[in-house]
C-alpha cells in the first residue's frame, strides 16, 4: 500500500510539473497581465494521484495474474469476469472520487467528464481487444477503431451539443 502511495505521489508530482505551463500560467493579452492559477495544479495533483493509486490498486496489483488466467478462460467466463467485482469497483471508485469535487466546482465538470470518459473508453477498448483475442475472430483489424473511439468519443461528446450519442459511431460498432 505504501509503495502504491509513493509511486502515485511520484506520478502526481510528474504531472504537476508537466502541466504547470499550461494549467497554471495564462497570459491575459487584453490587460497585459499574467494570471497564476495554482488551484488548477492542486486539482491536477489530486486527480492524477487518485487515478494512479486506484489504477495500481485495482489493475496493477492483479494485472499479471489476470493476464495469465484470462488465456485459459472461455469466452463466457471472460465476459463474466469483466463484469466482476473488481471492474465495477474500479469504475465506481474512480467516478465517485472524481465527480465528488465537481459537485462543488461546476467548472471542473467539463474536464472531469472528458478525463473519466476517456479512461472509460480506453478500458472499453482494452476489454474489446481481449474479447477479440479470445474469440479468435477475424476482427483484429477493428482494434484501432476501438482505440480511436477511446479518444474521439469523449472529445466529440464534449464538443457536440447533440450529446453523448454523437460520438458513438466513432468507437462503438
Amino acid at each position: 500500500m505504501l509503495k502504491n502511495i509513493k509511486q502515485s505521489l511520484i506520478v502526481s508530482a510528474w504531472f504537476v510539473f508537466l502541466t504547470f505551463p499550461l494549467m497554471a500560467v495564462r497570459v491575459n493579452t487584453t490587460e497585459q497581465v499574467v494570471e497564476w492559477r495554482f488551484i488548477n495544479l492542486i486539482w491536477v495533483a489530486y486527480e492524477t494521484f487518485v487515478l494512479s493509486y486506484f489504477w495500481r490498486f485495482f489493475i496493477g496489483a492483479a494485472g499479471q495474474k489476470d493476464e495469465e488466467a484470462l488465456a485459459d478462460l472461455s469466452l463466457r467466463e471472460l465476459v463474466r469476469k469483466i463484469h466482476s467485482y473488481r471492474t465495477v469497483s474500479l469504475f465506481f471508485s474512480l467516478s465517485s472520487f472524481n465527480f465528488f469535487p465537481a459537485i462543488f466546482y461546476s467548472w471542473l465538470k467539463e474536464w472531469l467528464i472528458l478525463f473519466v470518459v476517456s479512461l472509460a473508453f480506453v478500458l472499453f477498448a482494452i476489454v474489446l481487444r481481449k474479447l477479440q483475442f479470445r474469440s479468435q475472430k477475424a476482427e483484429k483489424k477493428r482494434q484501432p477503431e476501438d482505440a480511436h473511439g477511446g479518444y474521439v468519443f469523449p472529445l466529440q461528446s464534449y464538443g457536440c451539443p447533440s450529446g453523448l450519442c454523437s460520438g458513438f459511431p466513432a468507437g462503438v460498432r
Binding site: L22, R26, T29, E110, Q143, P144, A147, L155
Partner: protein, 233 residues
C-alpha cells in the same frame, strides 16, 4: 530566445516521454496501424487540452530573433529570421546525423528500427531506446515550434496541425529515414509553395506542393533521397 528554446525543449521532451509511456508503450506488439491511430488520438487530445487550459484565440508571440546589422544589405532577399532558421536547421541536421551515425545510442536506435527482437537479444534496452527517440524527436519539434512561432508572431492551440502535416509531407518527399532528405524535402516543399504563390496564385500553393509530392512518389516511391531496400527472402 535561447531560454525560451531551452524551456520548450525540456517541456516538449517531458511530454514526448510521457506520451510514449501512455499511448505507445502499451501498443508495442500491436499492428502498425494501432500506434498511428493512437498518435492521431493523442494529438486530438493534446490540442483540446491546450484549448481548455488556455484559449482558442490567437495569442501574440514575441519576436525572439534579433535583426542582424550585417543582414541589412540583403534584407529584401533573406531576413535575419530566415537566416537563423536556416542555420539552426543545418546545425540540428548535422548534430542529429552524427548522433544517429556515430554514437552508441544512435547505433542502438538503428538496430531497434531494423529488428526489435534481435536488438533485445544483443542486449539493447529497446524500451529505453524508444523512449529516448521520442525525447529527441520532441526536443527537435520544440526547437522548430519556437522558431516557427517567433517567425509567424502568433500562436494558438491549432498551430501544430499545420506544421505537422507539412513536416510529414517533407519527410515523405525527401525520403523516410533520411535526415538530409527530410531537410531537402522541406526546402523543396517550401520553394514549390513560394514559387506557386508568387507566380501563379497563393490559392494554389498547397495544390502544387501536394501535386509535386504525388509526382515524386510515383516516380521515386522512396522519396528524393530515400533508398529502396530489397528484402531477401
Amino acid at each position: 530566445m535561447i531560454l525560451a528554446a531551452i524551456a520548450a525543449v525540456i517541456y516538449a521532451s517531458a511530454y514526448g516521454y510521457t506520451l510514449e509511456k501512455i499511448a505507445y508503450g502499451p501498443l508495442r506488439g500491436a499492428p502498425r496501424l494501432s500506434p498511428l491511430i493512437s498518435a492521431i488520438g493523442m494529438s486530438i487530445f493534446l490540442q483540446n487540452y491546450v484549448l481548455l487550459a488556455q484559449t482558442s484565440d490567437f495569442l501574440p508571440f514575441p519576436n525572439l530573433i534579433p535583426d542582424f546589422e550585417f543582414m541589412e544589405p540583403v534584407a529584401h532577399i533573406v531576413g535575419s529570421p530566415e537566416l537563423v532558421i536556416l542555420v539552426t536547421t543545418i546545425v540540428t541536421m548535422i548534430l542529429l546525423t552524427l548522433l544517429i551515425k556515430k554514437t552508441k545510442i544512435g547505433k542502438a536506435m538503428r538496430a531497434t528500427q531494423q529488428d526489435m527482437s534481435m536488438a533485445r537479444l544483443v542486449g539493447i534496452n529497446v524500451d529505453r531506446i524508444i523512449s529516448m527517440t521520442f525525447v529527441i524527436g520532441s526536443a527537435l519539434a520544440a526547437i522548430g515550434g519556437v522558431l516557427v512561432a517567433s517567425y509567424i508572431g502568433q500562436v494558438n492551440f491549432y498551430i501544430g496541425l499545420f506544421g505537422r502535416v507539412k513536416a510529414f509531407t517533407a519527410a515523405v518527399l525527401g525520403g523516410i529515414g533520411s535526415i538530409p532528405g527530410a531537410v531537402l524535402g522541406g526546402l523543396v516543399l517550401g520553394w514549390t509553395e513560394s514559387f506557386t504563390a508568387g507566380y501563379i496564385s497563393s490559392d494554389y500553393e498547397d495544390v502544387f506542393a501536394f501535386g509535386l509530392l504525388v509526382l515524386i512518389l510515383i516516380l521515386r516511391p522512396a522519396g528524393i533521397l530515400g533508398k529502396v531496400r530489397k528484402q531477401k527472402v
